[in-house]
Point group: C2
């Protein structure tokens, strides 16, 4: 397992603010974990005693609604720190995390992170900025959910995934999700998702190969209402 101070992944998250000495210390107590597609990393209500630094793979953060359906709140990829929020507020997680493909992560115990938060104000400030940004994203998501049609939300989800997680060599979205996952992101019934994707395909906005999706007409997708 590579050392934190040499790890490229930390450049994408708040850990980059730590000094070399701090990183060496953190590195010494971290443990490597891997998860296979579908594995539950943690579940809503659990107490986390540390944070996960994602080295590879993607997972979804979900919350069980009162009506029994799961809602995807966020997709998390390489570089992000998982479990920050509940560690900071010292509460059990409000979300579940499930691997969407095979994942490599480092687990850093709570005590280590708290030490850094208490000792390195620059680090705390960086985490704070990070969280401020997440809060802004959350506001945007809420407005989209409240004001846009299912079709529009699905179109935007496809565009979001392409923009943030990229495509493979053939142009297909590199994150492959089930229709059910898409439904759970958009907040709709699986059948509705399937229907709309079929329509998009018919209209030449996307093409598919198995579960893989390729965006064919980005501009038209953006114009969906």
């Amino acid at each position: 397992m590579s050392k934190c101070e040499q790890c490229i992944v930390k450049e994408f998250n708040a850990l980059k603010t730590l000094t070399k000495e701090e990183l060496i210390r953190v590195s010494a107590c971290k443990t490597g974990k891997h998860y296979k597609k579908g594995d539950v990393i943690f579940e809503e209500g659990e107490t986390l005693n540390g944070v996960f630094c994602i080295r590879d793979g993607v997972c979804k953060l979900t919350k069980l609604s009162e009506n029994g359906k799961d809602q995807v709140v966020k997709l998390i990829v390489k570089g992000e720190l998982l479990g920050k929020r509940s560690l900071i507020s010292n509460e059990s997680t409000n979300l579940s995390a499930v691997a969407l493909n095979d994942m490599e992560m480092c687990f850093i115990p709570k005590s280590e992170i708290m030490l850094d938060l208490n000792k390195n104000p620059k680090f705390t400030m960086d985490v704070l900025k990070d969280m401020a940004h997440e809060l802004k994203d959350a506001d945007d998501s809420l407005v989209n959910m409240a004001q846009k049609s299912v079709k529009q939300r699905l179109a935007e989800t496809l565009l979001y995934i392409e923009k943030n997680f990229g495509t493979d060599n053939d142009g297909y979205l590199s994150i492959v999700l089930s229709r059910e996952d898409y439904a759970s992101i958009v907040g709709t019934a699986t059948e509705s998702t399937i229907r709309i994707l079929s329509q998009f395909k018919k209209d030449g906005l996307i093409s598919t190969a198995g579960k893989k999706i390729k965006i064919e007409d980005e501009n038209e997708l953006k114009r969906i209402e």
Copy 2:
């Protein structure tokens, strides 16, 4: 205008973590502002050069959706700090703030707050905790918006307002909102809101006097699906 170090309001927000000396310094540079019902405190996209500490009154934080409708993201009352997020991330606000009744606020310049954030790690940590909590609330709101019916969301909004902002002597919700405001919180058309409130009234779940609303059957409201 009262002094920060003696102000009771600060007990409800992150300012309570500041030392007496810091509070005296902050107090010296703050300016009092008041707004009348309907006044715009700031608008989406503006650069804020400070935060507002709310001493009295209520305001709504809204965001303009691409379809031209305003969405209420949050209601803010006495004790809360307004403008924290954009100050921390050093970006323009992503939300507009509009007074829902007459408001008394203190405006604390950005430089003061940043000084405290840089000098007092306990304060930073407190702001961080605050923000972690807001993020949790945001997750919950998203799930509610995505998974619950308009009727259910409206019922919960009424219960939320009663719980968090209380009632007047006659039992009416102390925050008086227009039907349009309720629609904008719930994310629906004004007519739908009016219809559902009429139904609630008919079913004896609420009663009204002008724009004022009184919850008559809390349990039944909670049971709405």
